[in-house]
Symmetry: C2
Subunit: 303 residues, 2 copies
Amino acid sequence: MSEILVVGSLAYDSVQTPWGKVERALGGSANYFSLASSLYSRVRVVGVVGEDYEAKDFDLLKSRNVDVSGMTVQKGKTFHWSGSYEGDMNEAITHATDLNVFEKFDPVLPEHYRDSKFVFLANISPDLQLKVLEQVKAPLFVGMDTMNFWISSKIDDLKKVLGKVDVVLINEGEAMMLTGAHNAIEAAAKVCAMGPKALVIKRGEYGFVLYTPKEGFFILPAFPVDKVTDPTGAGDTFAGGFFGHLASLGRKPEVADLKMACVQGTLLASFTIQDFSVKALAKVTLADIEERFHRMKKVVSFL
Amino acid sequence: MSEILVVGSLAYDSVQTPWGKVERALGGSANYFSLASSLYSRVRVVGVVGEDYEAKDFDLLKSRNVDVSGMTVQKGKTFHWSGSYEGDMNEAITHATDLNVFEKFDPVLPEHYRDSKFVFLANISPDLQLKVLEQVKAPLFVGMDTMNFWISSKIDDLKKVLGKVDVVLINEGEAMMLTGAHNAIEAAAKVCAMGPKALVIKRGEYGFVLYTPKEGFFILPAFPVDKVTDPTGAGDTFAGGFFGHLASLGRKPEVADLKMACVQGTLLASFTIQDFSVKALAKVTLADIEERFHRMKKVVSFL
């Protein structure tokens, strides 16, 4: 087993969906990612929180053996996002983004983080993604996420990061925006032409597309869930399950490993969306995932 | 092998997409369905055309051994639909719907059609769907399509049809509108509670969902196509491949048969969208489908 380094946001989210709402509930890409990946591997987090960040939220990660020594507490408040989901549960409507201490985030890795073999650069500014990557000595496998905001505002830095990673995990709209393609299938080869050896397009309730120039497409629907309580964090949970599985193998991933990693990611995300915040994810066990794994095989089997 | 009866529209379509346009090209649900299903089985069409309907368009169906004796020519013009696809290739923008002779369509089955064992009621008014069904003596397996317009304007008749069919093939928005569900998964059991023993939700580029109360979900993505030239007719092609496969087995379908029928439908639709009108569909062979079948297995296999 190898250790995973993740850099991303640590946040409090206020979210409303047709099924209820939560105020200042635990969120942020690094939290979802860490809770998911720590089911499989050891995880190290780099991020920043404010003085209002609660001890119990540190404790939750510690209870999963997540190394939080790279989480710094800064004067001020923790990043706060407020949003809602209405008719279309695939798309959040942002009400407010209070960056707070996250605005001046300057990631510095603790010395013992620098030998991490698996690195995930969650959705933060591409110049900070580069800064983190420069501090890692000899990574074996690096992945990144990004968002529309960085594609339109920092495309040059973003292209530098794309040139240094093994896999990109983004959603469908981002893949099309980045490449000018008309659909996920057309976008795939174009993203990989920018550097990455593999691309994962996250499609929400429609599952995912994995593409490698070497072996082409691997596409599956999401695990069927009839009540989506809160889709927040599904993509970061996917990335966590994906990296957790790969790091647990402790080797340079093969395409077959990436496929299984996608399946783990999509299964884990199917739990996250069944409750608000990290509530469902914090309770999932490997046995729960195994159970859905067998059901998933049945859902997509036709021979 | 059993014979399939299909009732639906026979039309000329004027379509514009980012990849070009066609004027008054052959279209209509019954044409797409017949071309698809006739690859597997004998097909009988019921429909109406105007005096402008061209001999070559009759000949195309005849060349596939499709029985066109139930196609009547009425004084006036053939149904004409005009539309375009812009950013979102999953949704057509309708510019004009000229019903013409289709407005007074009164389906009467030729005597020798009445023993048909497989019946597909494409998207026409539910009272006409009922009228067709009443003329069939002892159908073995009946399927239907519908659309938002009938759900909002003729829900009582529509519910009568739903109570008489074995399978419904509709798109995701229609399934949610019909049931008030928030997603396709939630909608599935609710549609089947209205009568049908099986539901197929067509998801365009995201594939399909098959649900049976007996065995639950079978879900696959669409076969990956990087250039969607014209998605018109994809749903009717799916239905044609689906029914064609089932009728070729010539028995009351089991759930495993429905799964394979969905795969055939999705593969055939992947050809239809690669050219305008019925151009690609008219050229597809069973060998072409077989080739994509093997590639599709690889696209969704992870063990």
